[in-house]
Each structure stands twice: as structure tokens, then as C-alpha cells.
Symmetry: C2
Subunit: 223 residues, 2 copies
């Protein structure tokens, strides 16, 4: 472990946030000890969160030796840079760029599409389902016949995508459709990832995510 990697690590966390899951899986893969502070998203945000992330006021925030880091992809990049072993990104520049391209694609498209499926109705919901299926088909093609997105070993792209799979059941339930037929390889990859301790410990039961989504829908006046 490099000098830079030592010291106190605290995560401002929320169990259901796929963005927080990314950070927890990356920390587990690197063998970093950390403490979590669960934010109560319905009971007001902590002063520590507001001070640490004044721009977005959102979890996850990683505080390393008193210095806050925000935005999950930036945080996972920092973890990769700080605790260098084992490496999560490919060793060649082109492989790293491709990994970052797909994570950027997921950041732009996946969560919004999945959320829109359970937060809308009618035409908007149909459009969201179509978008979500398109995203998953694109990822299916990128994964191809590889074990993991980076090849034989679990790494950066896997960490950035796997948390979202725990939210798919909610999209399927409220969208009345099934994703599996569109992306069987991703479905098999999901099961493979869930066998890893770093993932299994962090990614919640999709039924619990559904209960959370039901609460979110009720708060928005949806049945």
C-alpha cells in the first residue's frame, strides 16, 4: 500500500444507492478498511454531507484523511489511484479509455432510464423501457463472451455497472416486462459477480430495492 493510501477513510453512505455500492465494492476489492455513516435521505441530510459536498449535496462522499471526494466515478478513480493493488483498470491506455467510455455511457444513460420506467406511465414509460433495453443490448454486445467486462478478471467496469442490476427488478415489476431475454449474457455475468464477496456484501436484495421504490413512488403520489 502506498504512503498516500494510508489514513482514515469514512464513507457517507446510503444502503440503496447504486452509486454508494460502487465505492464500497471498490474499497473491498482493494482491501481498504473504512467506516460508513448512513445518511437518512428522508430525515434531512447531515451537516457533514452538506459541508463535504456543497455542489450536489449527495452521497456517496468519501472522506480520506479529512479531505472529501464526491461523485462515484471520481471516487472510484481516486481509489484506483491511491490504493494501487490490485489494479482495477486495464494496464494499457486504450483499454483504460474504452473502460472509461463505457462507464461514462452508463453514467449518462442507465440509471435515468431504469428510474423513468418506475417513475412514469403510458408513453413516457414505453419510451423509458425502450431506452433501457437499448442500453442493456449495447452492454450485452460489449461484454460478449468475456467473463467480465475487462476480460478474465473482475474490474473497473464491472464495479461501476453491477450495482444497477439490483434495481432492475423494480423496473421490471412496474414496467411489466423482463430484461433477461434482451441480455442473457449480462444476466449470467450478474450471477457471476454476485458470487464475489465484495459484491454480495454490498448489493442488496432486489426485493428490498422494490420496497424502497414503492416508497419513492408513493412520495410522488403514484400508487
Amino acid at each position: 500500500m502506498s504512503q498516500e493510501g494510508e489514513g482514515k477513510v469514512t464513507l457517507l453512505d446510503c444502503w440503496v444507492s447504486p452509486f454508494c455500492m460502487r465505492v464500497k465494492i471498490a474499497l473491498a476489492e482493494k482491501g481498504v478498511n473504512y467506516e460508513t455513516r448512513e445518511e437518512n435521505l428522508f430525515g434531512g441530510k447531515s451537516q457533514l454531507l452538506l459541508n463535504s459536498n456543497p455542489i450536489y449535496q449527495k452521497v456517496p462522499v468519501l472522506i480520506h484523511n479529512g479531505r472529501p471526494l464526491c461523485e462515484s466515478t471520481v471516487i472510484v478513480g481516486y481509489i484506483e489511484d491511491t490504493w494501487t493493488s490490485p489494479p482495477l483498470l486495464p494496464s494499457d491506455a486504450y483499454g483504460r479509455a474504452q473502460a472509461r467510455f463505457w462507464v461514462d455511457y452508463v453514467d449518462k444513460k442507465l440509471f435515468d432510464a431504469a428510474r423513468s420506467v418506475w417513475m412514469t406511465k403510458g408513453e413516457a414509460q414505453e419510451a423509458a423501457k425502450k431506452e433501457l433495453i437499448e442500453v442493456m443490448e449495447a452492454l450485452e454486445e460489449v461484454l460478449g463472451d468475456k467473463e467480465y467486462f475487462g476480460g478474465d478478471s473482475f474490474g473497473y467496469v464491472d464495479i461501476e455497472i453491477i450495482p444497477f442490476t439490483s434495481w432492475f427488478l423494480a423496473s421490471e415489476k412496474f414496467g411489466n416486462f423482463k430484461l433477461e431475454g434482451y441480455c442473457p449474457k449480462i444476466t449470467a455475468w450478474t450471477k457471476r459477480c454476485l458470487q464475489r464477496e465484495s459484491v454480495a456484501k454490498v448489493v442488496p436484495d432486489p426485493e428490498k430495492v422494490c420496497e424502497f421504490v414503492m416508497m419513492m413512488r408513493k412520495m410522488q403520489g403514484m400508487k
Copy 2:
């Protein structure tokens, strides 16, 4: 120059795209020789562009030894990784993470806000002006009294932000307001950056960008 950095470099380009400007400034800072192919955005996209960037079908695309790279921030990261001297990112992990956080913030907010000012009217335009001013005030605070975003030398965050300043005149003209009063330090920084050859050669005259914007507005049925 590393082995990885050798070979043929082609940029699928558009003179007015701030995203293409980022790539050209980064290549110039690294002293990389490359050829450009100007895409005619009103005359149909080239087959090379469609094949190289099937997901977004947008410039910039950098083709290095036959392998395409898409999305300007991913490309600039690849340039930094491949041609390692001079480094554009800070040498410490926290500094790199902060740089990536602010570039991500700009990617999420700046261009959309600036475009909305010249593409909308009435309340939507007022909201866009407010958003653009907020973004610029945030960046003003980040820059502070430093010469450049990274400190004493021109680097990653400067490269990623400076192209957008050539579009501000269009927002000001069609939004009937002035940004300078809200961000005098950014205004001084802009002048400083424009004195660099890598920037001056690439960033167009804001009046020419205004002419382009007028054409875009006409195509959308606006006067």
C-alpha cells in the same frame, strides 16, 4: 515519448465544436502531430464517423493507429495516458480527483446551460441564464487567485473549460446580458489562456461562433 504514443493520429473534427477544441489543445500541448478531417455537420456525416462512433455518431473521434476513441473527456484522458510528457493532470491522487470532479461538473452543466440561453426564450431563457451564471460563479470560486485551475501551469481543467468561452458571446448576445461582472477572474484567465499558442490556434473568434449560432437558430425556426 512512450512506445504506445507512436503512430498515426487522425482527428474527426469540426471547427466550432468546443469538444473538438479540447482534443486539439491537448494534442498541441503534448506536441503530437496529427491530421484532421473536417466533418460537414450540415451535409451528412461521413461513413468513417458513423463507423468509428456508432453509439453517439458525434465528433470528436480520435483515431490512433486505426483504433477509434470517442467522447472528448475520454480522449483527453487517453492523450494524457499515451503521451505522458508534459503531464496535464496534477501528480497527486487528490489533485487528479479534484480536476476530474470539476471537468465532470462542466460536462454536466456548462454547455447545456450556455446553449439553452440562445436556444430558448422567456422563462426558459431566464432559467438558463441563472444556471449559466451559477456555473460560472462556481468556477470563479474554484479558480480563485490562481493563474490556472491547477495552479501555476496550464493543464487539464484549463484545456477542458477554455473552449466554451468562445461560445459565451452568443449566449450574451441572444440572452442580452454580460457574464463578465459575475466572473472577473475567469475573464482574466480566459485572456491569459488565449495567449498560449495551443489555445489561440484552435479557439475561434467568438463573432464567428455567433454567426454559426445564428444559423443554428434559423434552422430551429428562431429569428
